[in-house]
């Protein structure tokens, strides 16, 4: 059988970026939250914030480390597997990635060393500054990468000269019609993910009746933040839907899952779309609601998938289900966050074991929603890599053979299995042990050493050997 290098490269890219996004999804919010905790501690002087910081910094250190190594892989994927894309759009994507490296990656990487190792070497204000710089770095990173990807989704501000894409107006390229909404949607998604994880950790400790004072704070902060963020997030999601309706009808119709143009249009809640037969099986739909959701008007006409030529349709199943998973999880997060706030205000939250279990088990929701959202955006963009300009199949490195890509894909799978297998196990272990009130004593070379992230930070009692 002939191996298709393009298909394999697509699988490889999807696999690598999916693994990568798990970590930014978490570290963007966590970096900001750690800065807030540190600031609170410096202002109030309360030790509990120090314990919270020392605990979450260990989680952060592990996640950040895995985020960095999986991110470095991404930075080279464009050239190795998509060399035609790099060469054609390098004049636009390259400077954006360049800005990311210059303004974001260096901030993160340099100040991360200070946050992790420098607490007793710098004054308190500088330590706080370093935390803030790490947070700023992760946020700047999301800014540039979303600008980049938004240009791929809705390319504007360029001209095509001799078959090459040449940037003309950088303001338009960066602040394109979809960027602002998508960036905010991504940022809030990251905050939601952090918030649900913090709340889940708090709920877990409360269920086990350990670390109760810290757990209370985590639960409150986590649920409170999620409750505040989830509503604007849903609104931004709606705006996202509006823009794809306007700019990417092929993605929009696939997400909506209606084959025929309808007026008024139904809202397809569930179905099994069949691309070959061009119809839905097992459909559950609500009349008129589709028109309302798409245009806030119960009677409007909405296009169907059949309006798109067959060879410009994306694979339907992934965007269709990805969207429903994302929205479903959004509703779940909303229910838990708002329910939790009510329980907190009425003072019964710590007795509602059922609710604590739900909050605990909710920890993966943010991650899954983010991955689902990205699958909607990226698979829905197919068959284009740069929408309307360059097809994915034409963007591939021409000299690559199927065997080479298969080899690298298997290699990455094995490496990630080992590295992330251990990594997730370590994360679990740190979560399981929980915040420590006193610095861990150091029992010789064989026993459990203080963890890399925090044990060393606050331990003046440790012997200095010179």
């Amino acid at each position: 059988m002939e191996l298709d290098p393009v298909l394999l490269s697509r699988i490889q890219f999807g696999f690598l970026i999916t693994f990568h996004i798990i970590f930014p999804a978490f570290t963007i919010g966590l970096a900001a939250w750690l800065t807030v905790i540190e600031a609170t501690r410096q202002v109030t002087g309360r030790e509990i914030y120090r314990r919270l910081f020392d605990f979450w910094i260990r989680i952060f250190a592990l996640s950040f480390g895995m985020g960095v190594v999986s991110g470095i892989v991404m930075a080279f994927q464009f050239g190795t597997n998509w060399s035609v894309l790099s060469e054609q759009t390098g004049s636009i994507q390259g400077p954006l990635l360049g800005y990311e490296a210059f303004t974001a990656f260096f901030l993160e990487a340099s100040f991360f060393g200070v946050v992790l190792f420098g607490r007793d070497r710098v004054p308190a204000w500088f330590f706080l500054f370093a935390c803030a710089m790490v947070a700023l770095g992760t946020t700047a990173s999301s800014f540039w990468i979303m600008a980049n990807n938004s240009w791929m989704q809705v390319p504007v501000g360029h001209a095509i000269v001799d078959g090459h894409i040449v940037p003309v107006n950088w303001r338009e390229i960066i602040w394109g019609p979809v960027f602002k909404i998508r960036w905010l949607h991504m940022l809030l998604a990251a905050y939601l993910t952090t918030a649900t994880c913090v709340a889940a950790a708090g709920a877990w400790y409360l269920l086990r009746r350990v670390h109760v004072p810290e757990a209370r704070l985590m639960l409150r902060w986590g649920l409170g933040l999620a409750a505040v963020v989830i509503m604007p997030q849903m609104w931004l999601g709606h705006l996202n839907g509006e823009y794809i309706g306007e700019h990417q009808p092929s993605k929009f119709t696939a997400v909506e899952g209606r084959w025929e143009t309808e007026a008024p249009a139904r809202l397809v809640l569930f179905a099994w779309p069949d691309a070959a037969a061009e119809k839905n099986h097992f459909e559950i739909a609500i009349p008129k609601l589709g028109s309302f959701v798409d245009s806030l008007d119960f009677e409007s006409s909405q296009p169907g998938i059949k309006t798109i030529p067959r060879d410009e349709r994306p694979p339907i199943l992934i965007p269709f289900f990805g969207f429903r998973i994302m929205v479903g999880l959004g509703v779940l997060i909303w229910a838990i966050a708002w329910g939790g706030v009510v329980l907190i205000l009425t003072g019964v939250v710590e007795r509602s074991r059922l609710f604590l279990w739900a909050t605990f088990l909710n920890f993966p929701s943010g991650f899954v929603a983010i991955i689902a959202g990205w699958f909607v955006a990226e698979v829905g963009r197919q068959p284009w890599v740069v929408f309307g300009i360059l097809k994915t199949a034409d963007a591939h490195t021409p000299t690559l053979t199927g065997g080479q890509v298969l080899g690298s894909l298997i290699g990455f799978a094995v490496v990630y299995l080992i590295v992330y297998g251990f990594g997730f196990a370590y994360l679990y272990r740190v979560f399981r042990v929980g915040p420590q009130s006193a610095p861990t004593p150091v029992p010789g070379a064989t026993g459990a050493r203080p963890l890399a992230g925090a044990g060393r930070l606050d331990d003046p009692s440790q012997p200095m050997e010179d």
């Binding site: 892989v73 190795t80 790099s86 800005y99 064989t446 050493r449 440790q462 200095m464 050997e465 010179d466």
Partner: protein, 335 residues
């Protein structure tokens, strides 16, 4: 600003970034390889403490090089990475194992050996690939119509492999000098004793590589005949090498060996660049051919070049300053 200035500006920034990368990540890759020879955990801890706050920032220079090439010279980015598909993939595997080993070895004493080998093998493979890539580039890549048209296997040649091993010795030399700068006691003495043999290895290798380049590439030879004053570059390196050899590890100032090796690397790199300028990929793609359109170069110039780049230099320096002096090891690393 005119187009040629912009092109040269970015070629200069990238050359500078490569140099900084080689010297900074060079020492931590070198220390990673030297890990293999450290006899016990006390030593390893000290060695580790000397690189752990800075390695991530050092490696970021590699990302910066990749991203700047992508932005300023997309053609080179595309050709280079498609020509080196397999080695770059190996490099990425190596960087993954190496990167996580820093956190993981402290999380999990039971598997510390595994992560230490991750650091050692990761450092070795990453270095080898970089050396082999330079060797392959000196030999020349097949480029047709601005696209790479080779087999993807050019890097498995005698010369590239030689360069791979040569760079391993070179980075270990940098690593040993870094340990002299940052460590005390037994590690300090051990690292000092390594300087002479490693330096000899580097010189033998550089000599072979230089002669080979002159002999196999007439264009290079012609350039050296035309511009004999360029000989100051290798000569500077040679003088530093002599100074370093004379002293070995017996130095009054612990920063001296590192500074001398840094100059040797600078001289070797400048010699290489001078041999091929204005080609970015030797004798197939020039700086001007590879450059992105003016609007891309200018856009990067104002923000990245004039604002962000100096800022990066400043806070890199600040971070090194914060962690200045000998490492103190005891219990937690970094103390």
């Amino acid at each position: 600003m005119d187009l040629a200035t912009l092109q040269h500006f970015w070629a200069g920034i990238i050359a500078f970034a490569i140099l900084v990368y080689v010297i900074l990540d060079g020492f931590d890759l070198g220390v990673g390889m030297l890990f293999a020879f450290a006899p016990n955990e006390r030593w390893r801890e000290q060695m580790h403490a000397s690189i752990s706050p800075v390695w991530d920032g050092n490696e970021t220079w590699l990302v910066l090089i990749g991203a700047s090439l992508f932005g300023a010279f997309p053609m080179v980015y595309a050709i280079f990475l498609s020509a080196f598909y397999i080695p770059v993939t190996l490099l990425l595997f190596a960087l993954i194992f190496r990167g996580v080993s820093f956190e993981f070895r402290h999380q999990d004493p039971a598997h510390r050996g595994l992560w230490d080998w991750g650091l050692i093998v990761g450092s070795a493979v990453a270095t080898f690939v970089q050396g082999a890539a330079i060797g392959t580039m000196v030999e020349g890549l097949v480029v047709v119509d601005g696209r790479y048209a080779g087999t993807g296997w050019e890097w498995v040649g005698l010369f590239p492999i030689l360069c791979g091993f040569g760079l391993m010795v070179g980075y270990m030399l940098l690593g040993a000098c870094w340990l002299v700068l940052k460590c005390r006691g037994a590690v300090y003495i051990w690292a000092g004793d390594l300087i002479r043999p490693l330096l000899l290895g580097v010189l033998v290798f550089l000599g072979i590589a230089f002669v080979y380049a002159l002999w196999s590439r007439f264009a290079v030879m012609a350039r050296w005949v035309d511009l004999p004053w360029m000989a100051v570059l290798p000569a500077t390196g040679a003088i530093c090498a002599m100074l370093l050899y004379a002293r070995g590890g017996q130095v009054r100032r612990d920063w001296a060996p590192f500074a001398l090796v840094a100059i040797i690397f600078l001289a070797a790199f400048a010699t290489l660049a001078a041999s091929f300028w204005p080609y970015m990929l030797p004798f197939s793609v020039t700086v001007a051919e590879a450059a992105a359109p003016r609007s891309s170069l200018a856009f990067m110039f104002w923000g990245c070049g004039l604002v962000a780049f100096p800022a990066v230099l400043i806070y890199t320096a600040v971070v090194y300053w914060i962690f200045r002096g000998k490492v103190k090891t005891g219990a937690g690393y970094g103390h």
